[in-house]
């Protein structure tokens, strides 16, 4: 049964994310360890907040949309 992407509400066949946002989420997860190494201490929440709030970070729009969604989820 068709469902909707939790980020952009587009119709998807299965899962939570559409293809684009799924790739963006994987990239966010993959890069987290690099950020932890770079700053020594960094939590997942701090990482997401940086992605959302720091305008100097050249994060892609779709990755940012996922970060906003995950950030809101963690605050709930």
């Amino acid at each position: 049964m068709a469902t909707k992407c939790v980020v952009c509400q587009s119709t998807i066949e299965k899962g939570e994310y559409c293809d684009a946002h799924s790739i963006a989420k994987k990239n966010l997860e993959k890069r987290f360890s690099d950020w932890q190494k770079a700053y020594e201490k960094m939590t997942w929440e701090e990482y997401l907040t940086r992605m959302v709030e720091d305008a100097d970070i050249p994060v892609g729009e779709w990755a940012k949309e996922v970060a906003i969604y995950l950030n809101n989820q963690s605050k709930k």
Partner: protein
């Protein structure tokens, strides 16, 4: 006396050919019946023979469906027919009438179109369908420039028949492109129609689909990009009061801790010059221009898109100023007399000194690249004096071509790359310098081959220098760059998609279909929708491998290794498989595409956040009562905001994706056919950036005044 009928590709080329072949250089313009319009039919006299030259206007014949089954797929049955019958807007009927009339009177037919796949098809279709000739009896003139000597020589030594392999390859390419284009476009369009009942034309083609995929893939990489932080060391030394930048031996450090350590260990310390190392760099002259390298260099120096460069190069060719530009060759044959061309160039002021310098050499050895093209030499000037009627871009391009041509005879340039190593408490920093020891070919490539020299400060090994400033600077890894028309063309070339003659127009088609936008190329939502849907449901349509395979098979026909029929049959089998798979998933493809198209339509109306209520969004909409177009806030529907403003009624209005620098309102762009796009602020009535006369005109004449302003400024 023998009569010849000479088929030329364009009116300009026909006049040049007729003039060159006429002994007095004054061909006669023959009277033609009134229904031929203003078709110039030229008569030249040569050694008692009469040569009638008639121009075509590109392709006079094209492929159309040979069945009356309506708009369906698959459609494998086709025929060649006059282009004016295939397309009402095509005005080529008088040309065909002229060829038919003279084709009946003259049996000796010579094709004098450009010698390539397209030229061969243009000439062969006219000779076969309009003049009723057997192609085995049709002669061929082959030339690479439109100079008198080249034209006369190609007439005197014309080939006894056309290159039948080239003709077959050209026919096959047209037919395969037609088969793929018509079937895939119909399949995509009908998928929406069958799934939702709506009609939306979605086009694609054999080369178009894979090219769009490059852009969409790159855009996906950019939009899903997550950067990694990194730190650079920003350091300067003090030399007699001047601060000079020095580079740390690692361009970036991966952690803040490491960066802080370098700063802590070097702050307040002096540096010692450890080593000064010169390094000689020899740079060979560049290869001569082929179309790809010319387009690339013209983009680099002037910002011209590949299609603009091709258009300008074709004008230069038709003016006999340069050789045939649609070539991939980077190797000259012995047939080109470089000494003659250089001698002609000495008559042009800007090139006199450089050409004379080269002529003083006992032997002229042009450089060469890897690519060969047996049909045409690399792009080079003919030596003919520049005419006064050229546009700026044509002049610029001509200058680039001449300078490159001069440079290929130059000596290698020799540069001295210097590096000075500084040690500051176990950390190595360095300074770089560059000095040109011998200009070589760079001298001939001026102003395009400039090298910026950087002098090193006067320091010796063991000298102590004072560190004036050091700190770390954070940056991030960057997403890959978007394609521009030039890099996309290079990518197509690298992946063997399309031909040198068609790549630039494929990119233009993607723009005109609304699949890509902007100079820094970005896939539109529609472009993404098409690629995403096809990638999931019918990946063969956008398969680079399939397109490349078909391209190679066309080349095999040209080389005589395969027959046109065999390649066509193979293509139809491939296409049939693709369409069968597509048909099974037609409904899901249609629904997904329609959803994406609707999203796109919605997004194309939204300008951005409303600066008045800061809650709604400004959208381009129409009044239900007057049907007039205006910009309003979506907050109106929730009774939050009633801001609205009139906008020009003519043209296509789209979000400009930028805000007004005077009032901060998101702007919109008006596009009109044949005019430059114009960006306006929707808040123009209150915006401080709007000139007073616009407001005055508006008060007198309402929205028409705004239309007038747009008209004036475009």
């Amino acid at each position: 006396m023998t009569d010849y009928l000479c088929i030329s590709e364009k009116p300009t080329a026909a006049k040049r050919i007729a003039t060159a072949l006429d002994e007095r250089g004054k061909p006669k313009k023959l009277p033609v019946p009134r229904n031929f319009g203003r078709i110039p039919v030229w008569e030249s006299m040569r050694n008692g023979d009469r040569i009638v030259t008639i121009p075509a206007l590109g392709h006079l014949y094209s492929t159309v469906e040979d069945s009356a089954g309506g708009w369906h797929y698959p459609a494998f049955s086709y025929k060649w027919t006059p282009s004016y019958l295939a397309n009402e807007k095509n005005k080529t009927r008088p040309f065909i009438l002229a060829f038919k009339k003279f084709g009946k009177e003259i049996s000796n037919v010579i094709i004098a179109t450009d010698y390539d796949l397209e030229g061969e098809v243009i000439g062969a279709t006219i000779a076969k369908f309009a003049c009723g000739q057997d192609l085995a009896n049709v002669k061929r003139m082959r030339f690479s420039t439109l100079t008198k000597s080249d034209i006369v020589n190609s007439f005197e030594h014309r080939d006894p028949s056309v290159n039948i392999n080239l003709v077959n390859a050209g026919f096959a390419r047209h037919e395969i492109d037609w088969l793929f284009g018509i079937n895939l476009t119909r399949a995509l369009t009908l998928s929406i129609k069958h799934a939702t009942g709506r009609y939306k034309l979605i086009t694609t083609g054999r080369v178009q689909g894979p090219t769009l995929r490059f852009v969409a893939d790159r855009e996906r990489d950019i939009q899903t990009f997550v950067p990694i932080p990194r730190w650079a060391i920003d350091a300067r030394i003090d030399l007699d009061g001047d601060e000079i930048f020095i580079e740390y031996n690692k361009k970036f450090l991966p952690s803040l801790k490491e960066a802080e350590k370098v700063v802590a260990e070097t702050t307040g310390r002096d540096g010692i010059v450890k080593e000064i190392g010169p390094r000689k760099i020899t740079q060979k002259p560049p290869a001569p221009f082929n179309l790809g390298t010319l387009q690339s260099e013209a983009y680099r120096h002037f910002g011209y898109t590949p299609s603009r460069t091709l258009r300008a190069a074709e004008t230069l060719y038709l003016n006999a100023l340069i050789s045939y530009p649609r070539t991939s060759s980077q190797q000259f044959t012995a047939a080109i007399n470089h000494r003659d061309i250089l001698t002609q160039l000495t008559k042009c002021d800007p090139y006199r000194v450089r050409a004379n310098k080269l002529l003083a050499k006992s032997k002229l050895h042009p450089t060469f690249g890897k690519k060969k093209d047996p049909a045409h030499p690399p792009i080079h000037p003919t030596g003919k004096k520049l005419a006064g009627n050229l546009r700026n871009e044509e002049r610029n391009l001509y200058n680039l071509i001449v300078c490159r041509y001069l440079a290929i005879f130059g000596e290698p340039s020799i540069k001295n790359g210097l590096r000075l190593d500084l040690k500051i408490n176990d950390h190595i920093f360095y300074l770089r310098g560059m000095k040109v020891l011998k200009k070589g070919w760079l001298e001939f490539y001026t102003p395009f081959g400039r090298v910026d020299e950087v002098e090193l400060p006067d320091l010796a090994v063991g000298d102590v220098v004072k560190l004036a400033y050091i700190n770390h600077k954070q940056s991030y890894t960057q997403p890959p760059a978007r394609y521009n028309p030039n890099s996309l063309l290079k990518k197509m070339e690298e992946q063997e998609l399309g031909t040198k003659a068609t790549r630039a127009s494929t990119i233009d088609i993607l723009y005109s279909r609304g699949y890509i936008e902007d100079e820094s190329i970005n896939a539109t939502d529609l472009g993404f929708a098409v690629i995403d849907t096809l990638q999931k449901n019918s990946p063969d349509i956008i398969s680079i491998e399939l397109t490349r395979k078909l391209q190679r098979e066309i080349e095999d026909i040209q080389a005589g290794k395969k027959s046109r029929e065999a390649v066509l049959m193979e293509s139809i089998v491939q296409l049939k498989k693709i369409l069968e798979k597509f048909h099974k998933k037609e409904k899901i493809i249609g629904v997904t595409l329609e959803e994406q198209v609707q999203n796109l339509k919605q997004r194309q109306r939204i300008l951005g956040k409303c600066p008045v209520c800061k809650q709604g969004e400004l959208i381009i909409t129409r009044s239900i009562r007057t049907k007039k177009r205006f910009v309003g806030c979506t907050g109106f529907y929730k009774k939050l905001c009633d801001w609205s403003a009139p906008i020009p009624q003519k043209g296509y209005a789209v979000p400009a994706k930028k805000n007004c620098k005077h009032c901060g309102f998101p702007m919109l762009t008006i596009r009109r056919k044949g005019k430059k796009p114009f960006t306006i602020c929707p808040n123009w009535i209150s915006c401080p950036g709007t000139p007073d006369e616009v407001i005055d005109n508006y008060r007198n004449n309402k929205a028409g005044a705004l239309d007038a302003i747009v008209e004036e400024e475009t």
